[in-house]
Symmetry: C2
Subunit: 309 residues, 2 copies
């Protein structure tokens, strides 16, 4: 799957991922109205609205991008019905040839991590049959519990040729509270990065490892250091756009081959029609606004890469 991701990045010339994190507030009135007319102002109605919203964005952007990253929390807030919309979104994106990074940030002790791994990346045994519960291609994982919380995910990834992005240095303002604390003179995120490199050595594709890392666009200096610590790990970079990260900050996250990172934008793409720059599309044509925003993001990142590499 890491080989496929790289192939698709090369083909689209777009090392980006669209974050499908639908808040109801992003969903245009006409979509909400249609969904509520069909299912009422219910959890099912909300789930239908975010599904229809996602579908249009995917239809308008799938040919430009290699991957999407649905944030499961935005679905989970609508309970079981929301998670049905998550599953529908995962399946639909895969049917369009997109790679799906499930932003689930799971992580637990061994046997419990194994259950998450099976549910999101693998297959669960039911009597004599097996089923894939959510079936994403990659998942994000929280490392706080250490190796025996991460390794069950890696085991399933090996079986399924799938991959992980492990939280190393997150994009939020208070990520430094624990992640930046010095351990033997090194910040904790660097220790986690070293572990990611170690775990990744155990499960490699042709040029990069299946085990990647999450490092926020909002921390370019840390990205630069971590790029060296984990040379074979793909870095998933959130925080571009709405959270403040800019194209020029991103060059640090890439290797000299122009690869090694994939930059996520969520709000900046999916709610593009609400921005002044794309207001001309109007809420009716929100999907076209997203398409224009994707093209602009690709140009911004290509520009930043060309300036350095």
């Amino acid at each position: 799957m890491i080989n496929k991701l790289i192939e698709k990045i090369k083909k689209t010339k777009a090392p980006i991922v669209v974050g499908l994190d639908p808040m109801l507030a992003y969903v245009p009135e006409h979509i909400q109205k249609a969904a509520f007319e069909e299912y009422g102002e219910t959890l099912r109605g909300a789930a239908e609205a975010i599904w229809q919203f996602n579908k249009e964005i995917v239809d308008q952007t799938f040919d430009l991008i290699p991957a999407v990253k649905p944030q499961i929390a935005m679905y989970e807030q609508f309970g079981v019905e929301g998670l049905e919309a998550y599953k529908k979104t995962v399946d639909y994106c895969k049917s369009k040839g997109l790679i799906v990074i499930g932003d689930v940030k799971r992580g637990d002790i061994g046997s419990t991590s194994a259950a998450y791994a099976v549910g999101h990346l693998g297959k669960v045994q039911v009597g004599s049959r097996t089923y894939a519960g959510f079936d994403e291609d990659f998942a994000t994982v929280n490392p706080y519990l250490g190796s025996d919380g991460v390794k069950p995910f890696i085991e399933v990834c090996k079986e399924e040729k799938k991959g992980l992005f492990i939280l190393v240095k997150t994009s939020n303002p208070s990520s430094g509270e624990f992640q930046d604390r010095l351990v033997d003179g090194k910040p904790l995120y660097e220790l986690v990065g070293e572990k990611v490199a170690e775990w990744g050595a155990d499960h490699c594709g042709d040029t990069y490892s299946y085990i990647g890392a999450v490092v926020g666009a909002t921390y370019p200096e840390q990205g630069k250091a971590l790029r060296k610590v984990m040379p074979k790990s793909f870095i998933l970079v959130p925080g571009y756009g709405a959270q403040g990260g800019k194209g020029k900050d991103l060059a640090y996250f890439f290797n000299e081959d122009g690869l090694g990172a994939i930059v996520n934008s969520s709000r900046g793409i999916i709610a593009a029609y609400k921005q002044e720059a794309y207001a001309k599309y109007g809420a009716e044509h929100f999907g076209e606004a997203s398409r224009a925003a994707v093209k602009d993001m690709i140009a911004d990142i290509q520009g930043a890469l060309e300036a350095v590499i």
Copy 2:
């Protein structure tokens, strides 16, 4: 909710919580067979089997215990259908008067943590109406992202008078890999513990805070240190029984008032019928085996507390 938890612990004299973490392998043949006959060997069949299994255990133990802790991963592995069984279990336990600790170990950046908080502990807005997606009473939270990943949960807890247990020192063998690393001479788990105390000061019940901590029974020395760092925080203690923690190790997790901790056992209770000590009940009467195991666990912990306090 922390007041209600304490009241129920006093009434039952049982500072314990039953972990509803059903693996299909724990579910007796006759339950699996009935579920598969109704729904086939499908995800729905598996979900039905674990729900029927849970229901019998709850029916046999609810009068002895204050709380249950369903581990959502064990349901999530069966996809959307599994999560329906999770929701059914949460609702049923609440209808029996039990406090439900959702062992979800969520945690993300601010707006995403807010979505998880709303989905598990709060209410989500859909048009002019609000709905509770999963509606547990407490949730476990991962602190790796720092304050702005945790505070959205606390905000929802304040509105709903609900609570959290934040991962501080987990019960698994490799928990020390990051959690024990020294920062300014102190282990990281102690820094996290200090933050739990700080966050908790902001949301207090009558005698204890709504913001508790997770500290594994397998680390009694660390439990002793953390008890002092977070005097007002309830400690949720996993790792008793199957993971190796013993009654006598647990006294350290309690305060002198005999309160301040709640000990979880999962496999040891729900799969009790598979242990030699309870084999006489047989798979047919697995619920009665669980009841006997709960009584033994309560006696073990009461004995350990009486020996010290």
